[in-house]
């Protein structure tokens, strides 16, 4: 999905927070932000319900059965791939939004520097997820 930036004008936020003049990499981040926003919107509420409420709660027998089922599902390679994609895009989405929120709260002059923790964190999380899923 493209064009997610259009909905973000409410706070007086410029869609291009990057360098003035020359080429900017902002378009790439906005595209990833939009794709990740869709993924997070579609999947995260259900994920929270499953891992936050359905798996931990309930009596032991039910929990054990659900956990085994969960482990089997996550171990299936198409689910692994899908999960990796959802996690990677959602992490970039969060990183981008955190960076722009920081810029809106007065750190705009550090927009370049903020890329390091925000996108670097998302990349680290993606690599972590890939390694974990590989090992399941």
């Amino acid at each position: 999905m493209s064009g997610g930036g259009k909905g973000r004008g409410t706070g007086g936020r410029a869609a291009t927070g990057g360098r003035a003049g020359g080429r900017s990499d902002e378009a790439l981040w906005w595209a990833l932000f939009s794709a990740g926003g869709v993924m997070a919107a579609l999947f995260v509420p259900a994920f929270v319900i499953v891992t936050g409420f359905l798996l931990p709660a309930g009596d032991e027998a039910v929990a054990a059965e659900r956990t085994a089922q969960f482990a089997a599902a996550v171990g299936w390679w198409p689910v692994k791939l899908a999960l990796l994609g959802v996690l990677a895009l959602s992490l970039v989405h969060c990183g981008h939004r955190i960076r722009h929120t920081m810029m809106d709260l007065g750190l705009r002059r550090y927009s370049g520097l903020l890329k390091v923790p925000c996108y670097g964190g998302a990349l680290a999380g993606t690599i972590w997820a890939a390694m974990l899923l590989w090992g399941i």
Partner: protein
């Protein structure tokens, strides 16, 4: 110098109008969603590192009231992200049928809320069946 002009504004500008506050609330959902994603990675890490036994132990340790509260906050934030995200879809991606623009509520349901409820229903059905 960046060469860009930025109008100065107060740090707490988002308290100045209800619309700004809603905007900031929407933006802040990403901190909770991000925090949950880290918890999800830890959960997957337990399964990868110690198999089902470690996963069961971990899940038992996150079943206390504080963890349930944290997950509830994450759920509210995640649902708010979903509602606002798909609510903006008709503006971001208008659909035209010939000359007529598809009404916003229908576009939001077709492009967002419908798929979301379907995905959620399928995942929950799969876990609860």
């Amino acid at each position: 110098m960046s060469g860009q002009y930025h109008r100065s504004h107060r740090w707490a500008w988002f308290f100045e109008r209800p619309g700004y506050l809603l905007f900031m609330v929407r933006e802040l959902t990403c901190f909770f969603v991000g925090g949950y994603l880290v918890v999800l990675l830890v959960t997957l890490g337990k399964l990868a590192g110690g198999g089902e036994t470690a996963l069961v132990e971990w899940l038992a340790s996150v079943s206390g009231p504080w963890w349930l509260t944290a997950h509830l906050v994450a759920l509210v934030a995640a649902v708010w992200h979903t509602v606002t995200w798909f609510g903006a879809v008709p503006q971001a991606m208008p659909i035209y049928l010939g000359e007529n623009r598809l009404p916003a509520p229908i576009a939001a349901i077709v492009m967002g809320y419908g798929p979301w409820l379907t995905v959620t229903a399928v995942i929950l059905w799969w876990v609860l069946r």
